[in-house]
Symmetry: C2
Subunit: 272 residues, 2 copies
């Protein structure tokens, strides 16, 4: 048993979808969430830069004594996970592996589509993870860089969103995938539209629920879960001023976001 918190970070607000699932599955745990809103997005940036940011944030969270780290950002999971695992002495869980596992479980044909940011798709991390679980699987990938700005603009069901989605998804649909991994934490906001375009025969997979189960499993195995009678607290840190995060975050969490604190990573403690 451990009273330490579970640390979660994302490039911004999108990782709250993962936090929400973790709170649903293990509500007894304290959580510390970090959104890197001063440097968002990660999906357009190089692996080297995203890895440097991931290390800075993890250092910050480890100094706050977390017992496990969840990398809720797909791009950071895709490029920085091995390096984080080597550098920090706590379990590190990304969203790629759980999403890949779920996709392999639900796909009947083995033809699996993956959509994500340019950085996530370029890394081939989903393809490698899926092939490790099912070497016969056929993985088709497509970067959808406009989906994040569309979701942030709130354009999730207008004609612009529809045309953009058709542009990106038509070739995956034509290729006959039966499963589509939403490989970016923002994409669940576009889920109804994506579902409509892909059609009823295609299962959409988002990693949040599967990642939360993975976290619960690891904590259980290591005997680090708090007693189920407890109610955990949620703490939030961001790198830009909190106003925008609070506004969008309440939409993600149904108005239950607590206090949010700003932190400047350049000035926080040593080792940054």
């Amino acid at each position: 048993m451990s009273w330490q918190a579970v640390g979660i970070f994302d490039s911004g607000v999108g990782g709250l979808t993962v936090l929400r699932e973790i709170v649903r599955v293990i509500p007894q745990e304290d959580t510390i969430y970090f959104g890197d809103t001063a440097r968002v997005p990660y999906g357009t940036k190089s692996p080297e830069t995203v890895t440097r940011y991931a290390h800075e944030i993890t250092s910050f969270l480890v100094r706050r004594d977390i017992k496990l780290l969840v990398v809720a950002c797909n791009t950071a999971s895709a490029v920085a996970l091995p390096s984080l695992k080597r550098s920090f002495p706590i379990p590190v869980v990304g969203v790629i592996e759980p999403g890949a596992r779920r996709a392999v479980e639900v796909s009947k044909s083995g033809r699996i589509g993956v959509i994500g940011t340019a950085g996530t798709i370029r890394s081939s991390a989903y393809t490698r993870a899926i092939k490790r679980l099912n070497p016969e699987a056929e993985v088709l990938t497509k970067a959808c860089p406009l989906f994040v700005p569309l979701a942030e603009e709130g354009w999730v069901d207008n004609q612009v969103a529809r045309l953009t989605a058709v542009n990106y998804l038509q070739e995956l649909k034509d290729a006959g995938v039966d499963t589509l991994v939403l490989g970016c934490t923002h994409y669940p906001l576009l889920k109804p539209l994506i579902a409509e375009i892909m059609g009823a025969g295609v299962v959409l997979v988002d990693s949040a629920a599967e990642t939360a189960l993975t976290v619960a499993g690891i904590l259980g195995q290591k005997n680090l879960l708090r007693p189920v009678a407890e109610i955990g607290n949620q703490h939030y840190y961001v790198s830009d001023i909190p106003a925008g995060f609070i506004r969008v975050g309440n939409r993600f969490l149904g108005g239950r976001l607590g206090d949010v604190y700003q932190v400047n990573l350049d000035e926080d403690g040593e080792g940054n």
Copy 2:
């Protein structure tokens, strides 16, 4: 006369449109360009964070001994200019004032539209600058957050770009503006489409040319121009790895981009 360079910075690659005009007007000058590609975009971030980034970059450029600073980024010009002018002992030129001056010159009706990022529009910097020059002017503004990702995706004349532009611009068109300021360095890439939607009666103003003339004027007044027989050199620094900047930058400059160096502002010299 001064052999020091002219410093120019932008959140990313867009400020190269301003650099290009400076090189055209005063080709004898050396220039040092800084693109903050590891933290782009600025338009969605708070004034406090953008101001902090602007100070870090200006410190970097001042240590390289520049004689004048051009803030080519509209968002940074809108929120950080007074603070930069107070903190650094060199002339600081933004893009808002030159763009506003040009708009007031060309507008016959005094009804002027301004489009830009959320940060630029929220600051009201263009409205204030235009009203200072012509208190009778009527200024209508509209944030267009999807224009930057569209330009970066290369979607500048397809149906998605067209529908997005109509969504953003129709109310300015209906309001009868006769002048439209393209208040973001990326927007010139969408100029043909914006011109088509606004119609022949509306003059589009981009700040790059006017800013270059302002720079030449200040250097001339202060007797800091190099002899016209000289040919200046262009140097480029970026905060993320240079590959993406080089690819897009060559499109902006017609393939004439030279060497680009990466710098980590956290580690460069003192005072950051």
